[in-house]
């Protein structure tokens, strides 16, 4: 429903502004060129997306993602406090974060939902609001991905001289964003009654 509204607003704005600016014929042509661009975009990034997807399957099967998850345990203790000492929650949380770091979106969500369910149960047992769940949600709404391969594929398709040269900038920006999200969550928690 949310997306239906977003779509309707975008199209209504296009119609109204097209009439106001006298560019309605361009708006009409855009229905064709936009659809064509969608096919071109998908075709141009499909190869890279599939290749990385193949490599990620190797990371999953070889246990590399589990290895990285184990390295994240101390961070989880730090972020989630006593919830992080619960082994079931900590294991699901670390798998969720490792999958996010590696860009394994399809593995991140199931692990995240398992972690959220456990954190929810722990909070209910203490009769508290599920602050751990809120923090987990905030972490998952920020991007932790180390190798944004789809973006690099889009840049390559547009003729970038070095498609991956944005990586350090992405890491810096992601780190600032995640830190802001954690800080905001902890701050709002304190401010909320």
């Amino acid at each position: 429903m949310l997306m239906s509204r977003v779509l309707l607003i975008l199209l209504a704005l296009a119609l109204v502004f097209g009439l106001l600016t006298g560019r309605i014929s361009q708006v009409s042509q855009a229905t064709l060129s936009g659809a064509q661009q969608a096919v071109e975009l998908l075709l141009s990034i499909a190869g890279a997306l599939c290749f990385w997807s193949g490599l990620m399957e190797v990371m999953n099967r070889s246990g590399l993602s589990k290895r990285i998850a184990a390295l994240l345990r101390p961070l989880i203790l730090l972020l989630f406090g006593r919830d992080g000492r619960d082994s079931e929650a900590a294991s699901a949380l670390s798998q969720n974060m490792a999958a996010n770091l590696l860009g394994l979106g399809s593995a991140a969500t199931p692990a995240g939902l398992r972690a959220a369910a456990r954190l929810h149960t722990l909070a209910q047992g203490r009769g508290e609001p599920p602050h751990g769940v809120f923090l987990l949600i905030v972490l998952n709404t920020a991007s932790l991905q180390l190798f944004p391969t789809t973006v690099a594929a889009v840049r390559a398709a547009c003729g970038a001289s070095s498609p991956y040269d944005i990586l350090p900038a992405v890491w810096l920006s992601s780190a600032i964003s995640v830190a802001t999200g954690i800080f905001a969550a902890k701050l709002f928690r304190r401010l909320s009654p």
Binding site: V6, A14, A38, M56, V138, T141, V151, Y164, V170, S177
Partner: protein, 170 residues
């Protein structure tokens, strides 16, 4: 440095898999098939969003909004061309990919706005969608401060994308 990183990661992943006795060829083939599935799954949403965004761009609405907000955006060093991406990012992943690639193509992948759009795509997520998935799965009625905190993180990602591009690419 980044030129070495990607081939290094590829070789390391394959070597690690080999040592752990993974059937590399089979794993790659299965993963690639999954990737093809992802492409097909996101295609309908990408098509709808690209048509909508191309229409909106053709109507001049985006230019007008960007021109209207340009003084504010320039004050914080944010490229006005990337404004539509910032507005759509929290709502739709496919939409953000569509708008982002539109900006990267129109401004050029090595331009300031093109790079900022790419970094924004790489450093933010679809907040509303993520919150919807988690609260639906748990049956949470109230996510309290999760949405405001997530939007703070998004805003920080957008502003720091511009900052990071200026820092690394002058």
């Amino acid at each position: 440095m980044t030129d070495l990183l990607i081939p290094g990661l590829v070789v390391f992943t394959l070597l690690y898999g080999l040592i752990r006795g993974v059937d590399l060829y089979d794993a790659m083939i299965c993963g690639i098939r999954d990737g093809l599935g992802v492409c097909l799954r996101i295609f309908p949403a990408v098509l709808i969003m690209l048509v909508a965004v191309t229409m909106l761009r053709a109507s001049g609405a985006i230019d007008l909004l960007a021109a209207f907000l340009a003084p504010v955006l320039r004050a914080v060093g944010f490229p006005p061309d990337c404004l539509p991406l910032a507005l759509l990012r929290p709502f739709s992943g496919s939409g953000a990919l569509s708008v982002g690639s539109d900006i990267i193509r129109a401004s050029g992948p090595d331009s300031y706005a093109g790079r900022v759009a790419a970094v924004m795509l790489g450093s933010s997520e679809t907040s509303f969608y993520t919150i919807a998935v988690y609260s639906a799965a748990l049956g949470l009625k109230n996510t309290r401060y999760a949405l405001p905190a997530a939007l703070c993180a998004d805003l920080a990602a957008f502003l720091s994308s511009a900052l990071a591009v200026r820092l690394f690419f002058g």
